[in-house]
Symmetry: C2
Subunit: 394 residues, 2 copies
């Protein structure tokens, strides 16, 4: 078995009203000039932002705002944020939002503490050594960025969507109030649940052996978030459901679900999906709902045991004499659940149009960095394999 590093130094405050601690936490971090970074008009409209800013004012914490983050957050706004940080002498970044805002904040933090171009970290020309510290008020739970070491940015000049993983960017604090997510629309709730599930599932399909205990924790997380997802669609303000989704978003992506496993997971589905949302600007969760079933179909012969185990422990699949048959039943159950969550499971449904073989070639070529890499660890995929998966997903 391999060595795991598990390091989650983010101070979490979880529960209704967690955001009320914002000034106290910023003070504890010694923040004097804060960049308040957020996305949606929802934050402004509801008076929520004004409430937070007045807390900062009362505490004598200077601040400057930068809004406009969109899903699949853009490099251009990151660059703008870095400029603001330098010009204003920002010493702390407060993200108010979900994964896009936090990922954007992490990128701004890296860039503001770096002489060169921030895209270096995403194109793997450089490795982050330091950052302007970041904290968040989570208003949308899905990406798990509040506790993860990951940031994914879309380069709006080239259309590339690239991730950067580093312990450097672990948030200093995360204020997590599940009641703030009760107004999330059903489609976004569906996307969130799929994204959360996939952060655990990518780690479950480890490139090697897994720790049995970690498998059991993964099964418990998956069952819980699936049940909560269906409940949240039916009763959007169900506190237990929203709390489960929010906390599962963190635990799914903070590294817990890979402890003791031989690797930190497969991650092919994420790479294959990133090309879709990079090119078509679709929601990441919806893209994953399309890619994962196709990936499972591609891998059914090599991974039937692991797929079937997922079925037995999470999707209520009954054991028959054929493991491969059970794996097939599991794949059908996965698709059925995604559809119950209002998610597409085919590319044509996701995009509203059937994509051409030529587009698939381009997607696969981008995904392999033009033939320079394979994706996935459990079963490394080259360009031809990736094309096949896009076709299975079509």
């Amino acid at each position: 078995m391999g060595l795991t590093t598990y390091y989650t130094p983010t101070r979490v405050t979880f529960g209704p009203g967690a955001e009320d601690q914002v000034a106290e936490r910023l003070k504890a971090e010694g923040a004097e000039k804060v960049l308040v970074h957020y996305g949606s008009a929802r934050i402004e409209r509801s008076g929520f932002l004004a409430g937070i800013l007045s807390r900062l004012d009362e505490a004598g914490i200077a601040h400057v705002e930068l809004s406009g983050v969109v899903p699949n957050p853009r490099l251009s706004l990151v660059r703008k944020g870095i400029e603001v940080c330098r010009r204003e002498g920002v010493d702390f970044i407060l993200a108010i939002g979900g994964g896009s805002v936090i990922d954007s904040s992490k990128a701004i933090g890296y860039g503001a503490a770096y002489e060169g171009d921030v895209w270096d970290f995403y194109s793997r020309k450089a490795v982050p050594q330091k950052t302007v510290p970041v904290g968040c008020i989570l208003t949308m739970a899905a990406a798990g960025s509040e506790m993860s070491d990951s940031s994914v940015i879309t380069n709006d000049e080239s259309g590339e969507k690239r991730g950067c993983n580093s312990y450097v960017c672990r948030l200093r604090f995360a204020l997590m109030d599940p009641t703030l997510t009760c107004t999330l629309p059903p489609y976004q709730t569906g996307c969130a649940v799929v994204d959360i599930m996939m952060h655990t599932i990518e780690r479950y399909f480890t490139g090697g052996q897994s720790m049995h205990f970690t498998d059991q924790m993964a099964y418990a997380l998956l069952r819980s978030v699936m049940e909560a997802g269906l409940k949240a669609l039916k009763t959007p303000d169900d506190y237990q459901a929203r709390a489960t989704i929010m906390w599962a978003s963190s635990l799914s992506h903070n590294g817990l679900m890979a402890v003791g496993n031989d690797t930190r997971g497969d991650w092919a589905c994420h790479q294959i999906e990133h090309e879709l949302s990079g090119m078509f600007d679709v929601a990441h969760g919806a893209g994953l709902a399309v890619v994962f079933p196709a990936w499972l179909k591609y891998n059914i012969s090599d991974a039937s045991e692991r797929i079937a185990a997922l079925g037995y422990n999470v999707f209520g699949v009954k054991r028959t004499r054929s493991e491969k048959e059970d794996a097939r039943t599991t794949i059908a159950a996965v698709e059925k659940f995604f559809r119950r969550m209002g998610m597409p499971t085919r590319l044509t449904k996701l995009l509203g149009v059937r994509i051409t073989d030529q587009t698939i070639d381009t997607l696969a070529d981008n995904c392999t960095f033009h033939g320079q890499r394979t994706v996935g660890l459990m079963n490394p995929l080259d360009g031809e394999a990736i094309k096949l998966i896009y076709r299975l997903a079509r």
Copy 2:
């Protein structure tokens, strides 16, 4: 629902050979003069200690050793450690061992960074503000001290066993190699499994509502560690079993099992047990195996729903029409499992002698700080209730 703070900044390295990173981690912490603190002759005899010390020497890290930690670690040795730290200018404490060694190290860390008497923190006259930083190589998994905010010390002048909880003492790193625990004798393995279970169960019996997702994670942890415990008794060097026990020890006591719950748990059983191990120097896990069933019996009317749910989800209890009946079945299943793990479930068995009513009065009086406090949050217990529980346990 209440607010939870979840803060686990300890950098964990988990897997075979984790201890090989000791010099690298100490360097990363800037340690220049290390107190190497350990307990048993086992560490010296096996050549393990020599191997670690030579790694420190190779890396040019100065060190001084302090051995002699015993279960229910003593204040007198803590005082000695503080003296050593001051005299030698120690700037980092490396604990090699299990909960006793780590708890002792935390106490030394507090005391060495404090002008007054270290016992102030345990008698609640003072609250720790800083510490000499601590890291560990875990060689015994049970107490979960490697990730917890807790330290429990026995005052060998007064016989009192008292705990101090503070975020200040979270370890900087924990090197966790499950293979180091394969030689643990069966009785200690039994004590470990009970201790681990109880850290989750104390939090499960919250003083208020619980988060359903946290309940599910608790059930998964309990089922996993019970299965692993039985496997480790049968096959002491089963890697998966030892890995599960080790990682469960951390997750059970780092706060994860109380996230979203109204309180951080009940903890009456721990307080009632501390008096036993303080007075009779019995193993903490064995003491808990005696106290918990009695505590359950005392609470069966008030908590039958929660007890029965534990039965359904962890102990394989079949649901009947009577929840109270199912709670009773659960208590029997708990006792049966503890006995399978080689644990006593009665005081007389634990101590080898039937204790008198007078002794019970003394234990209960100590436990309430001579009538100055109740213990437990789910159902606060006064001296009379505690006496009854000791009698039920007899």
